[in-house]
C-alpha cells in the first residue's frame, strides 16, 4: 500500500544522496532568487557551494516565523508571480498573515505527498472520501482534495460544518473515509448519536485527522465512537500544508516524507541539533519547493525523531505526535491563538496593562475559550449595563480578531495570579499531550 514505492522505501543511504543533491540545489536557488536568503547566507559567511554534505545543514541559518511576516506578502517567493499558480495564507490573527505560494510543480508535489498520506491510511481509488476540512485560504481542504483526486478516490468536497448534512451524505453516498480535525470528528460522532442515525448505514472505515494537537486517548475515543481507524496527519502551511508527515496503519509515529521535507530536531534554546529520540523543536527544510522554499524553518512544534525501521516498509524518518509548542500559541478548534492577540485587543479597547487569563476547556467535543478580564477601577462604573456592554465589546473585538467564539468573564482585581517572571496567561484544561511542557521547562 504505497503511493510511490521507490521514494517511500528507498534505502536510507540512497535517500541521503538524493537529499544532499536537492539541498545543494535549494541553497543555490534561494541564494540567487530570494534577497532575504542571499543576505542571511552572506551574513553567515556562506556561499551556495559551501554545502558539501548533509552535516553542513547545521551551519545554515534558521528561518523564523518573523522572517515570513516581515517579508509579507511575497518577499520570500523564489519564483515570479507568473509562475505562481496558487497562494494560501494563515488567518493572520497576530497581524499580517503568512502568505505561501505554489508553482504548478509545487501543487504536484503537494498532491504527491497527500496521496502518500492517504495511502498510509489505506485510502485508495475505490474509497469515497468526505473532506470536511475548511476549503479556502486554509490549506487543509484543498490540500487533502488534490491528494485524494490523485489516488483516484471519489471526493466529496463538503468542507467543514453543517453536520447533519454531512451525516446525510455519509449515509446516502456510503462514505468510507473522512478527513477533518479530530475535534470535528468527535463532534460528528456525537451528532450521529443524538440523531439516532442507523449505524449500519454508516460505512466509514478510516479517518485522516490533523490540524490540531490531539492525544492518543482522543484517537482511541474517536476510533471507538466513529468505528474508524484514526490516522494522525501533520503539516503546516509554511511547509506545504497537510502532507508533511503521516501515521501509517502500524501506528509507529508519523512518516515524514523526507525526500521533500528534511527534518531536524533542535534544542530551542541553543539551536543545536539533537539526536533521534530526544525531544526538541522540529525544524524543516523544504528540499523541493519552488515558489516558497524555506531553509531550516523553525516550526515551534515540539517532537522527537525516530529512525528505526517501521514494519510497513517505509524508510522515512518518523516524528512523534506533536508534544507541545515552544511558544505560547494555542490551537483552538483548528485556529492558532496567541495570548498576545487578546492583549492587543484589550489595549485597543483602552485598558493599559490588562490582566487577563485564557481558560481553555473542551465542552463536549469542541474547544471552548473563556477570557477572564480583571475589572480595574479605571473602567468600573456603577451601572450593570455599563459593565455588560463592556463585556460585550471585549467579546466582539476578540471574536473579530480570532475568528472564533469566546466567552468573556469579568473578574475582580488580583483574581488572576501574578507571577514574578513570564505571566501565566493560559490555563489549558484539555487533555492534550504535553500541552504545557514548553512553559514548564
Amino acid at each position: 500500500m504505497y503511493w510511490n514505492r521507490e521514494m517511500e522505501c528507498m534505502p536510507a543511504e540512497e535517500r541521503k544522496k538524493l537529499q544532499l543533491e536537492r539541498l545543494r540545489e535549494l541553497v543555490r536557488r534561494v541564494y540567487e532568487n530570494v534577497p532575504h536568503y542571499q543576505r542571511v547566507l552572506r551574513e553567515a559567511g556562506l556561499r551556495p557551494g559551501d554545502v558539501k554534505s548533509l552535516d553542513d545543514l547545521a551551519h545554515l541559518p534558521f528561518t523564523a516565523k518573523d522572517d515570513l511576516r516581515r517579508t509579507y506578502p511575497f518577499g520570500l517567493f523564489a519564483t515570479s508571480l507568473a509562475n505562481t499558480v496558487r497562494v494560501h495564507a494563515s488567518s493572520g490573527t497576530t497581524g499580517k498573515p503568512v502568505v505561501v505560494g505554489y508553482t504548478r510543480k509545487d501543487i504536484d508535489t503537494w498532491s504527491e505527498v497527500m496521496a502518500r498520506t492517504l495511502m498510509c491510511a489505506g485510502v485508495k481509488d475505490d474509497d469515497i472520501i468526505q473532506i470536511a476540512y475548511g476549503y479556502g485560504l486554509f490549506t487543509g481542504g484543498l490540500g487533502v482534495h488534490y491528494g485524494a483526486e490523485k489516488v483516484g478516490a471519489t471526493v466529496v468536497p463538503i468542507s467543514v460544518g453543517n453536520t447533519k448534512r454531512q451525516i446525510m451524505l455519509m449515509e446516502d453516498f456510503g462514505t468510507t473515509a473522512l478527513a477533518c480535525t479530530p475535534s470535528y470528528a468527535l463532534h460528528l460522532s456525537e451528532v450521529l448519536e443524538e440523531t439516532g442515525t442507523d449505524r449500519s448505514r454508516i460505512r466509514l472505515r478510516v479517518g485522516v485527522f490533523g490540524a490540531e494537537p490531539w492525544s492518543p486517548q482522543m484517537a482511541r475515543e474517536i476510533e471507538k465512537k466513529l468505528n474508524v481507524v484514526a490516522i494522525d496527519i501533520f503539516g503546516l502551511s509554511e511547509i506545504i500544508g497537510p502532507g508533511v508527515a503521516s501515521e501509517c496503519l502500524y501506528n509507529t509515529g508519523l512518516h515524514i516524507f523526507d525526500d521533500h521535507f528534511l527534518p531536524e530536531v533542535i534544542d530551542p534554546a541553543t539551536g543545536a541539533q539533537l539526536p533521534p529520540g530526544e525531544e526538541g523543536e522540529l525544524v524543516i527544510t523544504t528540499l523541493t519547493k519552488e515558489a516558497f522554499p524555506l531553509i531550516r524553518y523553525r516550526t515551534r512544534d515540539i517532537a522527537t525523531l525516530h529512525v528505526e525501521p517501521c514494519p510497513c516498509g517505509r524508510t522515512h524518518v518518523r516524528m512523534s505526535k506533536v508534544m507541545g509548542r515552544t511558544d505560547d500559541m494555542l490551537i483552538i478548534r483548528g485556529v492558532n491563538v496567541f495570548p498576545s492577540q487578546i492583549e492587543s485587543v484589550l489595549l485597543e479597547i483602552g485598558h493599559a496593562e490588562p490582566h487577563y487569563l485564557l481558560v481553555v476547556d473542551r465542552k463536549g467535543p469542541l474547544d471552548h475559550l473563556e477570557v477572564w478580564v480583571e475589572v480595574s477601577e479605571r473602567f468600573f462604573r456603577d451601572e450593570v449595563r455599563h459593565l455588560e456592554s463592556l463585556g460585550k465589546t471585549i467579546k466582539r473585538e476578540i471574536e473579530g480578531t480570532l475568528g472564533i467564539g469566546v466567552e468573556v468573564k469579568l473578574v475582580e482585581p488580583k483574581t488572576i495570579e501574578r507571577s514574578q517572571g513570564k505571566a501565566k496567561r493560559v490555563v489549558d484544561k484539555r487533555d492534550l499531550p504535553g500541552k504545557n511542557k514548553p512553559q514548564e521547562g
Binding site: 475589572v375 480595574s376 477601577e377 468600573f380 462604573r381 456603577d382 451601572e383 450593570v384 459593565l387 455588560e388 463585556g391 468573564k409 469579568l410 473578574v411 475582580e412 482585581p413 488580583k414 483574581t415
Partner: protein
C-alpha cells in the same frame, strides 16, 4: 445635598459579600443602606455608610474595585401612593431613574429612598418645587 454612595464590583462567588461586610465591620463602619445589582457573573454592591471617603479608601486598599457615586436621598410619604407620587414627578419631567433602593431609617414619619438619576440638580429642583424633601448629606450619613 448629594449623598455619597460607595459601589463595589464583586464576582458572583461565595464569600465575597461576607468579606466586604467583615472588612467594614472591622474598621468600624456602619452600613446605613445597601443594594446589590447582580448578573450571572458579577454583582455591584452599593452601600451608604458613615464616612464614605474613608470607607472608599479602606476598600480600595483591600484590593476591591470601588467607585463613588452621588445619589439623592428622597423623603417619600409613608403611605400608599407615596413612592408613586415621587416617581410620577420625575417621569413627567423626563428624568430617568437609573436605579433606586430604600434606606433603613429609625426615624418615624417618612421613608427614605435613594435615587440614582442622570441629572441630580434638576431632580432636586423638580422634587423641591413639588414639596418633596431631599435629605442632606450630613443628615443621611449621620443617621
Amino acid at each position: 445635598m448629594w449623598v455619597k454612595q460607595i459601589s463595589i464590583f464583586l464576582e458572583n462567588k461565595s464569600g465575597r459579600l461576607a468579606a466586604v461586610a467583615r472588612l467594614l465591620a472591622d474598621n468600624g463602619f456602619n452600613i446605613r443602606a445597601l443594594s446589590i445589582a447582580d448578573t450571572s457573573d458579577f454583582g455591584i454592591l452599593r452601600l451608604i455608610v458613615n464616612d464614605p471617603a474613608r470607607a472608599y479608601q479602606v476598600l480600595k486598599d483591600a484590593g476591591f474595585t470601588v467607585s463613588e457615586t452621588e445619589v439623592l436621598a428622597v423623603e417619600v410619604p409613608d403611605r400608599p401612593g407615596g413612592l408613586a407620587g415621587v416617581l410620577d414627578l420625575l417621569h413627567d419631567t423626563g428624568i430617568n431613574i437609573e436605579y433606586l433602593y430604600a434606606f433603613v431609617s429609625k426615624s418615624a414619619g417618612n421613608a427614605l429612598v435613594l435615587l440614582k438619576v442622570e441629572d441630580l440638580e434638576r431632580a432636586v429642583e423638580v422634587l423641591g418645587a413639588n414639596g418633596v424633601t431631599v435629605q442632606d448629606y450630613n443628615i443621611v450619613h449621620q443617621i
